[in-house]
Amino acid sequence: MLHIHQTTCISPQRTFPHPDLEELHESVNSRLSVIEPDYTGIPQNALRRMARSTRIGVGAAFPLLRRPEAGSSYSSVTSPPSIDGIIIGTANAGMEESIQFMKQIIDHEEGMLAPGVFVQSTPNTIAAQISLLSRNRGYNTTHVHRGLAFENALLDAAMLVRENPRHNYLLGGVDEIGAFNYNIDYLDGWYKKEALSSKRLYEDNSAGSIAGEGAALFLVNDRPENALARVRALATLHSKDPAAVRDQLRHFIDTRLQAGEKIDLFLSGENGDNRLLPFFLSCEDILDRDIPIARFKHMCGEYPTASAFAVWLACHLLQSQSIPPHIIKRMPGSTDPGNRGDKNTVACRNILIYNSHKGAQHSFIWITGTHALTTRPDR
């Protein structure tokens, strides 16, 4: 579908600018909030109007857009090529600004209102701000299809690299915890009623998850040379039936994997909501017993474009050649005492991500590394 050449991620974990996933950052008040960088180099006059989702989206995009200044927090990032288009997936960017504007409408009874937040209240504000800051006049769009917003952005980018060989695109998935994202979904029962640490996310047998947020950006094109990873296939589905999702997974594996290829790691979007568990378990059920399973929502929390974090994590795992112990759910062979040393390592090239949003929107994303990943469960 497409090749990923550079990635950045602002998340609740230490992912920006240099990833260090060994130490796990825990949720506070059932929220996993991002660790914001200092945004050195981004003009203050642009930053001052941005709500958090725009800030983290632009902040994560920034190193992929321009030659970093010496001494800035981006200086370690290699210089990027020119960008031919910007494609952002976000369910709710602009919603915080919308709520602020509504407050004005109500407080001032539709009187004289300050328009700044209204201008920033459309979800395309992230992609628009990135184009403004980089003076990019190319393709620019924003996909907002809730739990499949990032997947549609990914599909758009895959079509673009096919339509325009040798063009580079900036692809991203961004959402924030805010009055809208959190309060409305809390009322609707999607977050835990009782405070819970993200470290115990998978142990709690109750409804709801922990709120999360993040911005994961990717520089993509059609060229395999020097790529970090390749997105091989994507499938999406709207369904409330775990059996239908399982059938889709079976079909995905049967039709997309070539003879002799196998999934080396299943990256599951399990989120601690016991109502969604049947989706994840029924998928795991049809996987070969020797396929390791890892999870990521204890790192980024639940949000509609969390699959973008998962794609970032997959790229990181394929690159770093190690799997942090806290993400492992099942590691076949690791309990076998006779299986140590080199024989213990699992060559890992193919990662399959399964994510579900609210048990209604589902996606499978298959990512292949350019070199083998070695899993070291005893690390």
Binding site: Q44, N45, L47, R48, R49, M112, L113, A114, P115, G116, V119
Partner: protein, 89 residues
């Protein structure tokens, strides 16, 4: 009439209203252009609409035509002149 306290107050209001987090009141010179990069404070057309709202909420001044507003919103001195002449609170 002593305008220094009003100027100081206005600068604080502008910084808060426009979220100019990196600017301190003493950074804004009384005759510094509010709009435009370089010499100016770097404000734009949306800020000018915001400042018209600020004048309304803080001083009860009604400016209907944004173009009229731009004549008032040149720098701190011009704003203070206008406020003193037209304020209703």
């Amino acid at each position: 009439m002593e305008t220094a306290p009003l100027k100081e107050h206005l600068k604080k209001q502008i910084i808060a209203f426009l979220n100019l987090t990196s600017v301190k009141p003493e950074d804004i010179k009384d005759d510094q252009p509010l709009f435009g990069e370089g010499e100016g404070l770097g404000l734009d057309s949306i800020d000018s609409l915001e400042l018209i709202v600020l004048l309304n909420r803080e001083f009860g001044i009604v400016i209907q035509d944004p173009k009229e507003g731009r004549k008032v919103l040149v720098n701190i001195n011009t704003m203070v002149d206008y406020i003193e002449k037209h304020r209703t609170k």
